[in-house]
């Protein structure tokens, strides 16, 4: 029974990490839009190339933040949460 409970904890942590990374969709769309607009801007005014590129990279990095939050949650779920949760379970059972 204890093995089953630990297995459920590990599986749920892995599933949760995978689902957390669905948040990667958002930054993908956002950065794609930003780069597309930057390409348009450079096409219209090629002399502004360096400035547009700098601003675009800056905006991309800021837009990436939500994806990175999801990444941090996923990493916590994979590397930190299983050990803690199994400890809690073993304490509750009294072993």
């Amino acid at each position: 029974m204890l093995e089953l409970a630990i297995g459920i904890i590990l599986g749920a942590c892995a599933l949760g990490a995978g689902m957390a990374m669905i948040a990667g969709i958002g930054p993908g769309i956002g950065e794609g839009n930003a780069v597309a607009k930057a390409c348009e801007a450079i096409g219209r005014q090629p002399e502004c190339r360096s400035q547009v590129t700098t601003t675009m990279l800056m905006g991309c990095a800021v837009a990436e933040t939500t994806g990175l939050y999801a990444l941090v949650i996923a990493i916590l779920l994979i590397f930190v949460a299983p050990g803690r949760l199994v400890d809690i379970l073993l304490n509750a059972v009294g072993k």
Partner: protein, 291 residues
């Protein structure tokens, strides 16, 4: 300048040693202290020692050791670039040092305005420390920026600076700035604290995700080469040939490009937030003699 002078060359040599030795020492420490492990394991900073302290023990981790080593290295680089500097004499390293100082001053004054001219050394130090910390992963050492504590410390510095400059016109103006549209006051307070948190997580997440993905790709290539080449006899079958060269492509993106970009963005956001926090018009109204 008498470059052939023996003493000058000796000091030069010692400064170059000061740049290289900390990194070499870091590699030696890593080789001596890393325990033997099977397979590929992803883990955080190693804990070298614990100093007993009332509430909780102070930990001496790999992060702290590596960031001190990188600080010594950067001091060596700065001393080397400015060694033998003088007006009118032009050497390559003097050009480089002047280019660094001038471009950083230009960046600060164009992004923050004239009032914040004195911020150039702080921003340059932040930029250099962050960039070299991330580049440290090229030598195989643990980059201090892939520990949340490092970036959180820097973000805390930024938060203190933001609050200090918002307080410049007294606490009443500071509190009023939260109730700009009064209905949004709770959101304003949350976003005030979200600024340093998001800065810390952005830098940390980028560097950490790079190293995690690099390790996963290396593990995958090991398995793939065992499947493909495992039937060859002896040494040829055991050696993971696919791991030669292919992870280097990822390293160029994650270690060099991403690390430098995040350093630039961290410095840029610090400048923008601090400059944006300063209520310039109100300050000019109250202190017409200083503005």
């Amino acid at each position: 300048m008498n470059k052939s002078n023996g003493k000058f060359r000796l000091v030069d040599f010692l400064l170059v040693l000061m740049m290289i030795l900390p990194v070499a020492a870091g590699i030696v420490i890593k080789v001596l202290t890393t325990p033997q492990k099977e397979g590929i394991i992803i883990e955080g900073a190693m804990i070298f020692a614990e100093i007993p302290f009332p509430v909780m023990p102070i930990l001496i981790t790999e992060t702290q050791v590596n960031s001190w080593l990188i600080m010594i290295s950067i001091i060596g680089l700065a001393l080397y670039l400015t060694h033998g500097i003088r007006a009118g004499v032009e050497t390559k390293r003097q050009y480089l040092a002047e280019w660094i100082v001038e471009s950083c001053q230009n960046m600060v004054s164009s992004n923050m305005g004239g009032y914040f001219k004195g911020f150039a050394p702080f921003i340059t130090a932040l930029l250099g420390l962050s960039a070299f910390s991330s580049l440290m992963s090229l030598t195989g050492l643990f980059p201090p920026t892939s520990d949340l504590n490092t970036t959180a410390g820097w973000a805390l510095l930024t938060f203190i600076l933001i609050t200090y400059y918002k307080m410049k016109c007294g606490p009443v103006v500071y509190l009023k700035s939260f109730a700009e549209p009064p209905a949004l006051a709770p959101l304003n307070i949350i976003s005030e604290f979200a600024t340093p948190i998001s800065m810390a997580f952005r830098h940390y997440g980028n560097v950490l995700s790079g190293s995690v993905i690099s390790v996963l790709v290396a593990a995958g290539l090991t398995g793939l080469s065992q499947v493909l080449l495992g039937r060859l006899p002896g040494f040829l079958g055991e050696f993971p040939f696919l791991r030669i060269g292919i992870p280097a492509v990822l390293s160029v993106y994650f270690d060099i490009f991403s690390g430098l970009l995040q350093a630039y963005i961290f410095a840029m956001l610090t400048m923008l937030y601090v400059a944006g926090a300063f209520p310039e018009e109100e300050y000019k109204k109250r202190h017409p003699e200083k503005a």
